[in-house]
């Protein structure tokens, strides 16, 4: 079985879709000569030309607005927003344009576009270390995807580009260099809206996505080793629409659930997930739904201060133990 890094997986999805469909274009800041601030698009402008890999001004709202229009004009744009922090400048276009047109204009047209952006941290300070997936996931009209593995990064991006609706595709800066197995069929799609049971277990359900999946899997190993506890770890993969059937089926067997995310506890994605699961699973639960999330603090620069805030596998272990 072939292996790939997460970065190469994203790049190969972009490359293959561009080869398959001449209407796929990329646009973003420093994505051509520089190769993208996380080097994802390196080499693509040489391969496809500057009319398909477009260097843009530093204008996030303009980039997304332009992509919405390009999609309406018959293209399949993939807009890169350097990080999710800068995506805030494009919120209007994402929420009021991309997410609304199909509904608000009575189904006359859809907006087939992807916004690729990046969450993460690493002593980058308060303005460059945030996670906003909960905001996007709260908007009807958007689909929101956060892959944790190279295979999913590729398969989900292929699906996202082919989808007729706007998809927010959030990568993670600390995952780009991780390696993982790739499917034998390089063109295999991973469907949007399907969670994956990443590790089967019987005692507690741990729901995670993106980088927190790795923390959750580490925690599950430690819990098995040290406590003999069998965690079932679910990789959510898509945050809108959430695959509630898969999560609920697991909770029905384990009767306990921990929700993991890197965004702020108050109003974060986990808060919405918790509320919904309480409705769906209340009778199945033997313990309150628990969360691992970022404390409500802007991320500081100093390494020790930042470390003190980041959700970790140790926190997942402690939280699971608190339920047993």
């Amino acid at each position: 079985m072939a292996a790939s890094t997460y970065r190469e997986a994203v790049r190969s999805a972009l490359r293959e879709e561009m080869e398959r469909d001449p209407d796929v274009i990329l646009l973003g800041e420093s994505i051509t000569g520089y190769g993208g601030s996380y080097a994802v698009t390196r080499g693509l402008v040489e391969e496809f030309g500057s009319h398909r890999v477009m260097e843009t001004p530093i204008a996030e709202a303009g980039i997304v607005g332009f992509a919405v229009g390009a999609a309406m004009g018959g293209l399949r744009p993939v807009a890169e927003l350097m990080t999710v922090n800068f995506a805030l400048l494009a919120l209007d276009q994402i929420v009021n344009s991309a997410a609304k047109f199909h509904y608000m204009f009575g189904g006359q047209w859809s907006v087939p576009m992807v916004v690729r952006t990046v969450s993460g941290f690493g002593q980058l300070g308060a303005t460059h270390s945030q996670s906003f997936e909960g905001w996007f996931a709260s908007v009807p009209g958007l689909k929101v995807v956060m892959p944790a593995t190279p295979a999913d990064a590729k398969g989900l991006l292929l699906s996202a580009i082919r989808d007729p609706d706007p998809v927010i595709f959030i990568e993670h800066s600390l995952l780009y260099s991780t390696r993982g197995p790739m499917p034998d069929d390089p063109a295999a799609l991973v469907p949007i809206g399907r969670a994956r049971v990443a590790r089967a277990g019987t005692d507690v359900t741990v729901v995670a996505y993106s980088r927190m999946l790795l923390q959750a899997l580490q925690a599950a190993e430690a819990l098995e080793r040290e406590d003999g506890c069998q965690c079932e770890v679910i990789d959510l993969r898509t945050l809108r629409p959430v695959d509630y059937p898969t999560v609920a089926a697991s909770v029905r067997r384990t009767h306990r659930v921990v929700l993991c995310g890197e965004d702020w506890r108050s109003g974060g994605f986990g808060a919405a997930l918790l509320a919904e699961l309480q409705d769906l699973c209340f009778d199945d639960l033997d313990a309150p739904i628990a969360r691992v999330a970022m404390r409500d603090v802007p991320l500081p620069y100093a390494r020790n201060l930042e470390q003190a805030l980041l959700p970790s596998s140790e926190q997942v272990v402690e939280t699971v133990r608190s339920l047993l």
Partner: protein, 336 residues
Amino acid sequence: MYRQMVLIRHFEEHAAEAYAQAKIGGFLHLYIGEEAVAVGALAAARPTDPLLTHYRDHGYALARGCDPTRCMAELFGRATGLSRGRGGSMHLADRSRHFWGGHAIVGSHIPIGTGMAYAAKYHRREDVVLEFFGDGATGNGIFHEGLNMAALWKVPVVFICENNLYGMGATLAEESPVKDMVIRAEGYTMPARQCDGMDVLAVYETVQAACAHARGGNGPFFVECLTYRFRGHSMADPELYRDKEEVQRWRALDPIPRFGARLVAERLCTERELTAINEQVEQEMLQVVAAADAAPVPDPATVAEMIYANPIDPAAPVMALGAAPPPAPAAVLLGE
């Protein structure tokens, strides 16, 4: 063109009346006084040129030939409305007529039209995208981002600024350091022309030249139409910020009688013919209002439909995903 201006005027007068009777809800922004801009500009463009406008959009829809009954039905919130009762006055759209929407977030459609123009250029279509917006929109960053990209990538778009001297209650002097909006285009090395927006022929000629420029592969063009809205910003506006004399001065320039007088002076039309047009249109509008009023409201059971072109149900069995094509416009059915 005379008939179209009269049509817009009468349509909106009836809309104002229906609003007063609470048959129309929300915001209603009237275009009365500015008819020469939409009519002159759209007559100068091709009917297939993509059109995007701000929320003061009834005039463009009608000038583009959208069915007045379906426009009125949209204002009435009916299932047969242009946007099937989901959009309302500010969000009319008719893809079959290449009208890609009224956009109610000020300035938001400017990069969108730029992107559409890029797609036209990419596919080697001869389209010129027409984008209409107000003077107020030029204060928003998104306006500048859109113009910058349009100029950078030399896309076929004509930006048409309706300078009606106000952005809601803000006077031009309060909202802009420049009096002439054409100056905004200079920083983007974009050719620009100002014209009398109360004169339908002046608008026609200016936009014709602008379209020729853009269609010829020379990149974007900026047009400023000097105009005035005779009514308040919306139906809710008490108009405390401008004096009645100013309104009277501009009313004397009303584009409809002005163009009518010219048609008569040049012997292209008689007074009697103009009167007949007015009467015909009025009769037509009475029918439009009656038909809109009789149209069915949308079925509440459908309220959560159409959010996605490809709705995903995580509970459904996995199908061949990614294969679903966007719905063809012809597949959009009317009614519920």
